[in-house]
Assembly symmetry: C2
Homo-oligomer: 121 residues x 2
Amino acid sequence: MKEEVKEILSHPRSQTEEVQALQDTIYVIGGKWKLPIINSICNGNKRFREIERSIPGITTRMLSRELKDMEMNGLIKRTVYDSSPVLVEYESTEYCHSFGDIILQMIKWGKAHRKKIKAGK
Amino acid sequence: MKEEVKEILSHPRSQTEEVQALQDTIYVIGGKWKLPIINSICNGNKRFREIERSIPGITTRMLSRELKDMEMNGLIKRTVYDSSPVLVEYESTEYCHSFGDIILQMIKWGKAHRKKIKAGK
DNA sequence: TTCATTGGTATACTCCGTGATACTGGTTAC
DNA sequence: GTAACCAGTATCACGGAGTATACCAATGAA
């Protein structure tokens, strides 16, 4: 059988399409902070400092930047209540929830990994 | 009800543990290339140039670096066949397969995202 | 003979994601 | 009066992830 044909047959799913999809996703949620922030907000954290405290290691600068970015991209909604002092709340959008499964799988992997390290080393 | 108590009650799952797990995972598979490489190898690509061609945009340098890194971390196995010319093959390990669900979800998201962009703009 | 392929390495460079630190203006608590 | 909390912004600086390009020795094909 020709190499070419063999290669096509061995990849029934469109490999190209898959890599592209994967790279798209990595592009959107790449970096150290986006997923932890999404997770935090989806977990019910609404206030800036609340989110900040819920994510170990993040700085106000990065949180601020990422929140702004994610708001622009329709991942979260920012509401300012004109009370005194000003109150700001962040909420996740429907779109944002579409990352749920990815986050879930990643949390699952992370937990299993930690258990594995602890147990067997 | 005290703010403190309310906060604890509203997060029955250990939020701290989840963020940590998430951050661990991001640390391991972070960056632009690790997941596409894993995916490629799991899809049956074995040879260096084969993997390279299957991932749009990657350079030989990055592929080389990442493969070395991933071999050290037990994610893939590198075998050199002493034929002439020398033949090198990469395989995924069991450990590597534990990323299967994450990759699957990310491909799924990427496809849906692309469809969404195309359809509604 | 010349070109392409394989499995990479070497060198140089760039950029930007991230970190550290400080600061602001208003408010409430001690 | 001073300390702490809120929601951030401003500056500065770094390192390493990623890019670009060239090169190697061996082999096989045209």
